[in-house]
Assembly symmetry: D2
Homo-oligomer: 327 residues x 4
């Protein structure tokens, strides 16, 4: 891991940052979150396809990617298409700036050995604080890992049975590139499973963080713009119940503004346009094999992408992790 000296910033001196790939859904959302953050100043929003046009939220004009002077900012958010972020890092090495990469390029399972720190702020804040390059987690893994990691680490999961994750995501999770299967006329009124055969690329990321668990992961495409709901059948050890699950979560996440344990089932509408992950757990009386149902809801563009990236940035700058988040 490439560490980095923590630099503490005063409020009076907003830190300069930039966004690469700023006209996609995650890039726009980073701009949106940062517009409510009083500790940073966005210096550039780079997008080749929109170069020369005004950005919708920050009062900037999109600039071509090649024109970016990364050395003039302290941190760059990489929101480029998958693959291009790695190439940019290889070529530029960050050019002096610290990096939060929102693509899959530096995550576990990418096949790259880059010394990037996987940035789930609730689990490894100290590492993130020192990192030069943070791999921002995928949207689906954020919910699954934060749901399961506290239980797995305490041995509360029965490893003889698989954890069954049924996940559903709004369409912005698939990016903003023009593809026929993402046209409104195709998605409207539809609902479909995909990645069948346990083949979704996010599985590697989940397995890396949840070693030893059997994971069956079935994602679905929801006819809404944003939000993820994950319904997880967790095979638990005898005696473990929903109350214990919630207590464990509260003990681990109590200090985070970005994770909320609820009694009512979380819903997409409650978390849309926020940077919060909501978690709830329910017993299933009558089932012979003890199983707790977990429901996790987050905005794929919020806690699942831009909100989490800003949490990571906060840690890297010595700010409170929840600063500027929409909670």
């Amino acid at each position: 891991m490439l560490n980095y000296a923590i630099n503490m910033h005063s409020i009076a001196d907003p830190v300069p940052v930039g966004v690469m790939g700023a006209s996609g859904y995650t890039g726009l959302e980073v701009l949106r979150v940062l517009s409510g953050h009083d500790g940073v100043s966005v210096r550039f929003a780079a997008s080749d396809s929109e170069a020369g046009r005004p950005t919708p939220v920050s009062g900037l004009t999109f600039v071509p990617v090649a024109d970016v002077r990364a050395d003039e900012v302290d941190l760059v958010f990489l929101c480029l298409p998958h693959g291009e972020a790695a190439r940019w890092v290889e070529r530029k090495g960050g050019a002096g700036a610290r990096l939060v990469d929102l693509t899959a390029d530096h995550r576990p399972g990418s096949g790259r050995e880059t010394g990037a720190v996987y940035g789930l702020p609730e689990l490894n804040p100290e590492e993130v604080a020192l990192a030069r390059l943070v791999a921002n987690p995928g949207c689906y893994p954020t919910g699954v890992i934060l749901s399961l990691a506290p239980l797995a680490r305490r041995g509360r999961i029965d490893r003889a049975r698989p954890v069954v994750v049924s996940a559903a995501s709004g369409v912005t999770g698939a990016g903003r590139s023009a593809k026929r299967e993402l046209l409104f006329g195709e998605v409207f009124g539809d609902f479909r499973a995909y990645g069948l055969g346990n083949g979704h690329r996010h599985l590697k990321e989940m397995r890396a963080l949840l070693p030893g668990l059997g994971l069956l992961f079935v994602p679905h495409l929801l006819p809404v713009a944003r939000g993820i709901l994950e319904t997880i059948a967790v095979p638990v050890e005898a005696g473990v119940d929903a109350a214990e699950v919630k207590a464990l979560w509260r003990s681990v996440y109590g200090g985070s503004r970005a994770v909320r344990v609820t009694e009512e089932p979380p819903t997409l509408a409650r978390v849309a346009n926020t940077d919060v992950l909501e978690l709830a757990a329910f017993d299933n009386p009558g089932l012979e094999a003890p199983t707790v149902t977990v429901v996790a809801a987050l905005d794929n563009l919020g806690k699942g992408a831009a909100g989490q990236a800003v949490q990571n940035m906060n840690l890297m700058f010595g700010y409170d992790a929840g600063r500027g988040l929409r909670c």
Copy 2:
């Protein structure tokens, strides 16, 4: 069970039928399916709330429920609110007509002992053909039971682990009564789990037809008007794979126009406005505990209600089971 002599009808002589509760979503859908059926003639469409207004599809005028002369038709579809169908049957006893009850009132788990025949036409056609009163299955159970029954009966399911069913339904599945939580402003852009704690009332029906299986059932409310998608993690015995599951289905359902085994994953859009259940199965290589993922899709108002009711009617009249269906 109350049996009934099969009466064969000639094409030249359409059988008179009627619909009670014809202005709800299932009642309207029964009228819609019957409008494409050349073997019946709809004599009345009863609805107190719409009495006096024209029906949208059959050229009739809605009449008050109390004005219905059930003895003038050979069969009545009961699409009344849950509870009212049982009261009507108790009071009238069918008044001479055979009955297909689309409510939950006579299904397994209703707590009633009425001699009704549970009508899943692919599983017990001979019983249906002779029945005087058919309990039309619930929308969720139709997909779950038809997915699992052939496997369960052949001992292909590992009963030490629960079957995990994640199901999602369009809003018409909740009926047409005005409730705040079903308002457009509440459901739009949302997705939510409900019935948590394995408490959905359809579970009794599934358990009655799938004895000995552990069933974990989590339904979700989809922001679409119609359609159900059920994603089922089936714990199978060692050596059982998706190919065997599909072969079993084909051997049992090969003769039915209303069940289709597909290689591609079924989607809501493919089955909306049809009377077909689509089934597909997928292996999950790498999981230690062998598990097959089943995806089942049906229209909650089609094969999940009106289409199945017409299948049952066809069997009761000696018609081909698939006659008039939208397949």
Copy 3:
């Protein structure tokens, strides 16, 4: 105009037809309508992008456009992208088959002089019956022209004031090509006007059929898959009221199954998935300048495209114009 001898077909002998560009939204809809038509047999469904795959409705396999033998059918529906239909006709001349062109290539205002007959079956059925090449009207013009032509021809419209048309269409009206602005993530929850400045290309077609009228036409993009609603403020001559408008429509359209005059305002949901245009008219008491509000609703893929194409085909084959339509 290129005429053609009417050839009467018996029911016992379905007429062979084909579809070019069969995997776009209009092509698929032509296949769908024809699947319920007992007087034709679809011999080919051509699509380069889907070649080799099964068609969703007719049991055929898509074939490459270049492989089509147009001389083996009596009629070809051209559902190619705009521009390609004209090129195909120029190159092939129809290759012996009569043609119904669903693109804009041969419509008034296309700038081409091709001898095509503009096919609005309610207005010029005799011409259509004899045509070799029919230009199927645009979706927006179908509603506007059928609303206004009977009034304009009888001098009921005050030409000193413009007719103001506010129209809204579902997204399939823009075709099935992958464009960013038609992605689900862009359209969901949105509603927007376009073609501002009275610049929509359908205006030429409307003006050609409604000479002398001032037309202000503002289309909007609706977040639904299909359907068009047109709300038209018609400046009428003194003394003209909604009752007279409806009487005029009924006198002209009384014989058509595809046009329905209603008292209640037409809605998108009522006409979706049908081949019907619904028309209603309303007085506006209190306005000094007499103005009747017309509401017209049709499915852009039904009466606005495929349904109307089949009506035209019916006339060309000597069938009843409404045969096989979804009314």
Copy 4:
């Protein structure tokens, strides 16, 4: 008009306010806007139907309407059902607090003579600042009046022809009461005109503020949760063009954060969840009778209700009118 001495508040001393009818769509939105306003402190959120439950945004608990002590706050927002606000005011007289009434009860055309000040902050800020009771404008009239008033007052509109307004609103505009026609299953995939015959109750309000204009107003129900788009065909005097219209707007609204004149057509998505009204104007070359098309977009719950109510409150408290708005 009942005037009131302006009381200037310092930032250090947030003003206590309350919300009556806080669980409906407008009440919740007032809570949402106020949660981002640093000059007020919400003391109560009253709702009989939700009494005892937590409010979703402000950390309060809903209290019964009867328990409210209005004299403990400086201002009350009335978000009760139409009719109940007037009754509450009659009975309580505000109980010492100043009032912003978001219902129709005190607007022009309500038939009441109450001395309420009609609060369109861009048009009469001085009156609002002194008012004891402000009638917050309707959502549709907000867009229509702000579009047309500057033109009408300067004599730029040709009064021999009617202004034709085609308006479309998301479903929350109809309130949160359970009605069958507002169920998701009814609205999904639909689009419909209503209030035909120029009969919408908002017309009285528009006519009162735009005397002497002929107004033809046709509202439509959009299948989205929130937002209004109004497309207005404005008959202008000879020589008036879109550039002049925009210049007039800019001269009148230049100082308001809540009105934005744009070159691109406003869209629903751009203004959803904001408190901004966007206005654009377009010429229609070729039309003999000169007509400018205006497109106005606002969130019915933002600038069309809660945002505007907070603007009015700001003026009443001597704050900057745009303080705390989502612009």
